[in-house]
């Protein structure tokens, strides 16, 4: 018997039906069910109401202990008092103005002081804005055309970052993309030679944190070889730190893995949910960045800069990366032990701050999806095929509660499948 009663979602469903009538797919993208993350859909909250710390509440009043953190932006805790106060104060005196606020300069200086490879910062709104700008810079800097990617890449949803078989994408949109296996220097060389060296750069996440498969951490040695390859071939090395940024290392994930990127893209953890992204780069890329025509209506709005100016110093004070690692290990060790109690082989992979989970008892993820659904419908918000996120407001009590709900959910799934003889 489960000690955590299952939630119901009547109001969520009502709102979602209204959404379906007014918005394509109701809630598109990763926050909605269209990407197959909500299976079965009846177990999931579809519309939120409010949030605080590491919890959010849906429109039915159900409370969730959330390890998805809005898919990353919640790095200090939802509605962090310090960050929100800075943002609100800025809002009162000016946000989107003709002459940009000096907060933008302070923000760039803060990033220069924080990020190891940064001699400058350039601001925009979303991760896709940042990766796109970086790729444009690489091409402008080298005068070359093609970009190299590691297999399974995800660098946002702009045309160049999608694949030829995606709706609305033409083969020409992605004709200059070269895909090679992760850290396969031989394959990189072959691909480089195959296009007579017409390669502007490589864009990659700091490690393979893709979906549906165990995440694979990188090593300093692997990155050292890639850095050397790029140097030897005049390629710009871009690190897409949109998801991982400030969770592994406040100086950047390239710093964490012992090398220096030419360009690095940040977004999610910059301002604890206030909308901004940034590209930082070395001095050698600064003139190129100046030459690229790139801006947007809200990119210099002051409120997110004010939030960032409160968020990054607070992350420094709390020294969040080791904290995230420690909490991630504690939480996932508890999950693994709880699974083992019921005969489940729960595999934990990736960096602990962004842990990825997979029940390995079957190879279809169906058992895993069942377990995730039972966790979510009891108030522990996890995802079935995406990495998770730790935020700074997670307490030991939260971790204990999460493990208890997880254990309860394992029991529910085990009881449903006597044919598996799990114990």
């Amino acid at each position: 018997m489960s000690k955590y009663p299952e939630y119901t979602h009547e109001k969520s469903q009502e709102w979602f039906n209204r959404a379906l009538a007014a918005i394509p797919s109701g809630v598109y993208g990763h926050l909605g069910p269209s990407e197959g993350l909500f299976l079965p859909i009846t177990k999931w909250p579809l519309m939120g109401d409010h949030a605080k710390g590491t919890y959010f509440w849906d429109v039915d009043g159900n409370k969730y202990l959330d390890f998805m953190c809005a898919y990353g932006p919640n790095v200090l805790g939802y509605c962090d008092d310090d960050v929100d106060a800075a943002a609100m104060e800025q809002l009162k005196i000016g946000n989107c103005t003709t002459s940009p606020s000096y907060k933008m300069v302070e923000c760039a200086e803060l990033l220069k002081d924080t990020v190891a490879c940064a001699d400058w910062a350039f601001f925009m709104k979303n991760g896709s804005d940042a990766t796109t700008f970086s790729v444009m810079c690489a091409r402008a800097h080298t005068g070359k055309k093609k970009m190299m990617f590691f297999k399974g890449y995800y660098h946002g949803d702009f045309q160049w970052a999608q694949k030829a078989d995606y709706p609305g994408i033409t083969p020409e949109d992605v004709a200059n993309n070269i895909v090679v296996p992760w850290f396969d220097i031989e394959a990189m060389q072959e691909a480089y030679d195959a296009c007579n060296g017409d390669v502007a750069g490589l864009i990659a996440q700091p490690y393979d944190h893709g979906n549906f498969f165990d995440n694979k951490c990188a090593s300093k040695e692997q990155w050292a070889k890639v850095r050397k390859f790029c140097d030897d071939h005049g390629m710009v090395l871009i690190i897409d730190d949109v998801r991982t940024g400030f969770r592994l290392d406040l100086a950047g994930s390239d710093h964490y893995y012992g090398f220096k990127a030419d360009l690095i893209c940040f977004c999610k953890a910059l301002a604890n949910g206030y909308n901004m992204s940034a590209v930082c780069g070395g001095e050698h890329m600064k003139n190129t960045a100046s030459s690229v025509v790139y801006t947007g209506s809200y990119w210099m709005s002051a409120e997110p800069f004010a939030a960032c100016l409160a968020c990054i110093p607070k992350m420094k004070r709390l020294n969040t990366p080791p904290m995230f690692r420690e909490k991630g290990i504690k939480l996932t060790d508890g999950f693994k032990a709880a699974g083992k109690e019921h005969g489940f082989d729960l595999v934990v992979s990736g960096e602990p701050a962004l842990f990825y989970l997979r029940i390995a008892n079957d190879d279809s993820l169906m058992l895993h999806q069942e377990w995730i659904a039972e966790c979510v419908s009891r108030g522990l918000f996890l995802a079935s095929h995406h990495n998770h996120f730790i935020n700074a407001s997670v307490t030991d009590e939260d971790i204990a509660l999460a493990i208890d709900i997880a254990e309860d959910a394992f029991g529910v799934v085990a009881a449903r499948h006597p044919e598996l003889g799990l114990k």
Partner: protein, 254 residues
């Protein structure tokens, strides 16, 4: 843009392969088979394209790859020539047992393909009859499934989708109506016209009406998925890539 070679595989493995199912569920098609004095196995051999044999007997129709067991054969100089058989009823060159080729082609084969065409390209009027509507939807499902495999293996864009499909069986179906299994092995897709015994991923349409609406483009896969009318389970990335090939099926068969 359609590629002629991929279209030829769609015609062979998607459209004509549905004769198997037609001869199982349609009485007129069954009667055509019953009228055969002797079994006929006609091979369609396409240069730079598919080579398949359709075996017809009183029991129905069965498609096999290659020319094994064929009693007569028609050769096509190119995928375009083979596609003209489907689009314009232009036959290829009989290269084995030409008498049987011509008599079968002009007789039973044409009757069967005419019946199949009526189901796969139905009139609005015909669809008002429930039995026809259901059979049309089921046969379309088999055609689409065959076309998915044909394109995943041959269409340059769909091959990109198949590249991201890991090994395993994908179960697709219409609840209580029909099921198929798409088997992915080393990014090559093949079709079994049966329910998957041990799928890594499942996509099942709740009703035959929903399946029909999805096939004819009046319903949105994404919206129905979000509304919970399509059952998904397992490695959704396999389904995701199958759906991308499905978009290409619409280009080829739309």
């Amino acid at each position: 843009m359609k590629e002629a070679k991929a279209m030829a595989y769609v015609n062979a493995y998607g459209v004509l392969a549905t004769l198997e199912n037609l001869c199982e569920i349609d009485d007129k098609a069954k009667a055509v088979c019953q009228g055969l004095k002797n079994p006929v196995a006609i091979c369609m051999d396409v240069k730079d394209g598919p080579c398949v044999t359709y075996h017809f007997s009183k029991d129905g129709c069965k498609m096999t790859e290659g020319e094994g067991g064929c009693t007569c054969k028609m050769s096509f100089a190119s995928p375009e020539k083979f596609n003209a058989l489907i689009d314009e009823s232009k036959p290829g060159i009989p290269t084995k047992n030409p008498v049987q080729v011509l008599s079968f082609l002009l007789g039973p084969f044409t009757k069967l393909t005419d019946i199949l065409t009526a189901y796969l390209m139905p009139s609005k009027e015909a669809l008002k009859e429930r039995d026809f509507f259901e059979k049309s939807t089921i046969l379309t499902m088999y055609t689409i499934a065959g076309a998915i495999c044909a394109l995943g293996n041959n269409d340059s864009i769909s091959k990109g989708s198949a590249y991201y499909i890991c090994d395993g069986d994908i179960g697709m179906g219409i609840t209580d109506a029909c099921y198929v299994t798409i088997c992915a092995r080393n990014h090559h897709l093949s079709l079994k016209k049966e329910k998957a015994a041990n799928p890594r991923a499942v996509m099942e349409f709740k009703t035959i009406d929903l399946a029909n609406a999805l096939f004819n483009g009046t319903a949105s896969t994404m919206a129905e998925l979000c509304a919970g009318n399509i059952h998904l389970a397992g490695m959704c990335n396999m389904i995701d890539n199958i759906n991308r090939i499905l978009d290409r099926v619409a280009v080829y068969l739309g």
